[in-house]
Symmetry: C2
Subunit: 458 residues, 2 copies
Amino acid sequence: MPVEAVIAAAREFLGDRITTNAALRDHHSHGQDTQPPVLPDAVAFIENSEEAARVLALCYAERVPVVPYGAGTSLEGHVTPVRGGISLDLSRMTRIIDVSQPDMDCRVEAGVTREQLNTHLRDVGLFFPVDPGTAACTIGGMAATRASGTNAVRYGTMREAVLGLTVAMPDGTLIRTGGRVRKSASGYDLTRLFLGSEGTLGVITEIQLRLHGIPEAVSSATCQFNTLRDAVETVIAILQLGIPVARMELLDDVQMAACIAYSKLEGLAPLPTLFFEFHGTPTGVAEQAAQAEEIAAGYDGRGFAWATDPAVRAKLWQARHDAYWAAMAAKPGHKGLATDAIVPISRLDEAILGAKEDIAASGLTAPIVGHVGDGNFHTVIMVPPEPDGLARAWELDKKIVARALALGGSCSGEHGVGIGKREFLEQEHGAAALAVMRAVKQALDPRGVMNPGKVFLN
Amino acid sequence: MPVEAVIAAAREFLGDRITTNAALRDHHSHGQDTQPPVLPDAVAFIENSEEAARVLALCYAERVPVVPYGAGTSLEGHVTPVRGGISLDLSRMTRIIDVSQPDMDCRVEAGVTREQLNTHLRDVGLFFPVDPGTAACTIGGMAATRASGTNAVRYGTMREAVLGLTVAMPDGTLIRTGGRVRKSASGYDLTRLFLGSEGTLGVITEIQLRLHGIPEAVSSATCQFNTLRDAVETVIAILQLGIPVARMELLDDVQMAACIAYSKLEGLAPLPTLFFEFHGTPTGVAEQAAQAEEIAAGYDGRGFAWATDPAVRAKLWQARHDAYWAAMAAKPGHKGLATDAIVPISRLDEAILGAKEDIAASGLTAPIVGHVGDGNFHTVIMVPPEPDGLARAWELDKKIVARALALGGSCSGEHGVGIGKREFLEQEHGAAALAVMRAVKQALDPRGVMNPGKVFLN
């Protein structure tokens, strides 16, 4: 059996770090999604780029699938080994290789988590801004899925945050892409080709990241609106004025009701609500706050409450980050299916109001949270514990994506394609562009060993 | 002859817009570089994406080279048809297809110039920030070379500015990449694969651009230093404090002497000088100005002169943009060879001071201007009108690049590889990464018709 040959050969240098232990295989059979779990044949815990390359070379020779695994927080089935093979676990690659304070950059191994990195950086006055809302996710996984989060409106996504990569190619070659410079016009942009390739072109083992100075002053606020449209119009006006808002999040009435109950938020009503955060100098933050408040008032925004106290701020944003769990707590016994559509900002009210109609028609519960500064919004569809529950949830997801595509949007703002969004790619990109993606895949992974069954249908 | 078959077939739909006129072929034989001109067999003036695709399909069938041509402002030989074939001129594709004020984006044809676009946008309060310093360059050419310029420190490069593309593929297929959304995790990032591919993978015919609001207040300043090191340390301190400077340019003593003479700048000495520009609210700009001045004072920065008067500002930045012509005027009879190295910002003083030593050793004159917020700097090597002048200039360029690479930098910050920088790619990226770039080229342009002789040696 090819896979047994790989396991035997890898044991030569990994020892018991390659394992067929049932509990570990089960742990690596799924992410935090609703895809059916599939067991890998073995799990390999690698500790450096060279080991990744050696495992890949063996798998390439034997045509055995390889599925990279970080923290297992994927929401789209990325880590499920749908065709078996080796689950390549990078979670032990946790070295922060290098931090340069004057250059505001660092190089980390793929298994470093966002939280680990920011804890490490605090002493040098720097931070890594991309924040998908979960502390556990690895930088490697975030790079592989082109992740972003609540800070993206100001600091960008992994696309902007990553300066360079080390990648183990399917045949076991190690390459370095990009570098330490802020920009370059030298050669094809391989860095961004691998960002968002979801482990289908190679395994990202190291990441060079751009960092930012911790802002001198931070201020948060909430503002409540009568209608979703008023909230979205406020967002558009703020963006147009060029106010450098760091975070700007929308929670709908259903999500607010869940958050108020779960996070014991006081003084807030179950109404469409914007959460703001501003970064800058004390003067700058105060000015931004005043401008935003004035704009919101023009759309009947009420109860503008500014919080510069770190404890109050932390509670507010923890409530936002716990939105998923708040939604789950409101519907005991349900699972959650997160949608991830994104549209041009001017179409956000249509997309969200349309989604609310679809939700009502479906008979399901699905609160909405949105990174409105980007046009990206999530509905957490509560999957009822019934035989057809999951099918009904997927049907609703499809409607929400279809509307987003019709409005000039994309099926995924930040979670990636994985298994769940493959069927939308041809409609979104067109058959010709999808054929170019396939040609790249075929050129770089001619044996199809890298994370098969993801991104592309069949 | 294959090329005659192409010309005859293209004449069917282009009429006299495909031509073998000697003057036009001569005009399309070179850019603004020092590469030897080579005549194309014909020039095709296309007017839309479909015509680009039809010409490409003909050339693909007959294996005739195609070289995209915009404004001909390339500094690295990109538009020189080194193997003849068709020069595909996109300069008549000047339609601004669509502008969305609420989404702050637009879609343009590849032949639209930066100046044309910004003139068009002024009435809606928006602007396109990427500014390579020449008004004539086309958006298509800027996309193809991943261009940037003086604003990149705040607004980013074409990598950040482009949301999506229409590309005519080598076989004549038209694809659309990306879209209108601010971010997406849906599929491979084909947009950034084509940005900077210099016409070697296909022809960019339309570009979706992200725009920005015209800032409420703009303020400029100059500040002079005793040493380059003091100037660079000032820059690092400003970046670390997170001051959102819009432009921050360094001119060395030689360049300042040339600019003072050429642009009649008063009150400035031939010393290392920083040019600043800040964008924001009136309060914000004033605060940024005060902070920058305080930092500069700590490095003996003198003569801080703030200019909010648009006329004074315009004169100052015109002088900066005219640096190349000022350098040329200082050395009558010479040609200019512009270098484009970039290094991590902390190594900028070493890179520039080293370059100054190399310049001194070469016996040539070469003023320095730098986009210091990025670590990118240009020397304009004055090529003496002597038989070995160009060889001596290239030798100096090689030394400057070699030092930049040794300092962790790149051979090109923004001009691209073209012909002149091909020899550095293997050293910069490594043979394995270069092989991946070649694999992508081979997959998308298997017949090698797209801009042959660029990016890759042989």
